[in-house]
């Protein structure tokens, strides 16, 4: 059944799994993986709506921009993670807390 709802459900499940990863992981890189899952879920929704309710390619364009942003975000975030590791010797997001008030 190639129907819009199936894709939306897959997107919802991916989003929730990504959300759970972001909330429950302590390793900063695992948190990043959760963010990637969330972005992929959003992208599935964009492309599904582009096919089933507009039949234009605007959703694809938006998906491409999401992928661009995800790549840039991963690069910068990993640079920050490496810096945190150099300073704290850990990438546990609970322990690197020197800004905590």
């Amino acid at each position: 059944m190639n129907h819009l709802l199936v894709y939306l459900i897959i997107g919802a499940i991916l989003f929730v799994l990504g959300l759970f990863t972001v909330i429950s992981r302590r390793n900063a890189i695992a948190v990043l993986m959760g963010v990637e899952l969330i972005l992929n879920a959003a992208n599935i929704n964009f492309v599904a709506f582009a096919k089933f309710s507009s039949a234009t390619l605007d959703g694809h364009i938006f998906g491409i921009f999401v992928i661009i942003l995800a790549a840039a975000e991963a690069a910068v975030a990993l640079a920050i993670v490496l810096n945190i590791y150099n300073n704290f010797r850990t990438i546990n997001v609970d322990e690197a807390s020197s800004l905590r008030g």
Binding site: I13, A30, L37, G63, I67, L78, A79
Partner: protein, 168 residues
């Protein structure tokens, strides 16, 4: 019929490997499960007639982001240790929040009368996307190029060891 079976195989791969990403105790397993998630999502794009996006997904996510994540893991842990565990916090709070979110989302999904059009042929992807990027979406396209340049410079600047040169 065969197409449907393949579709459900891709959907299953996507969801199950995303589950492994979320629940695996070993970080390296999570990363390699993420590889299968990206493959599954690329397969779903193919079913949605988004062949260009599927190719981009494979190139950038599998070829770029995933390698970057692996580098991050290798650089911040003992390399030979495949059993890098990842502690979890907030499992209960996160589980409640995620299940609540899933419930709300599914309720909305099933409750909304989605406005779909019938079987319409999508325009040809690659040439149309190229045209759209150069006409209607030119400004976001240029903004994205500036953003990528900024990310490139920023990442190189951040990842540089302090001591080489000034600052950082």
């Amino acid at each position: 019929m065969l197409g449907q079976i393949i579709f459900y195989v891709f959907a299953g791969i996507t969801v199950l490997s995303a589950g492994v990403v979320a629940f695996s105790r070993k970080l390296v397993y999570s990363v390699f499960a993420l590889l299968f998630t990206f493959f599954g999502v690329a397969g779903l794009y193919v079913f949605l007639e988004a062949d260009f996006l599927a190719a981009v997904q494979l190139l950038i996510y599998v070829g770029g982001v995933l390698v970057l994540l692996l580098f991050g893991i290798m650089l911040t842990n003992r390399v030979a240790d495949i059993n890098i565990s990842q502690g979890n916090t907030n499992r209960i709070v996160g589980g409640i929040a995620s299940l609540g979110m899933l419930g709300i989302t599914l309720y909305i999904l099933f409750d909304t009368p989605w406005n779909t059009i019938g079987e319409k042929v999508m325009p040809e992807t690659v040439s149309t996307i190229g045209e759209l990027l150069m006409t209607r979406w030119l400004l976001p396209f240029e903004a994205a190029s500036v953003l990528l340049l900024a990310a490139l410079i920023g990442a190189a600047m951040l990842a540089r060891r302090s001591g080489e040169g000034e600052g950082a």
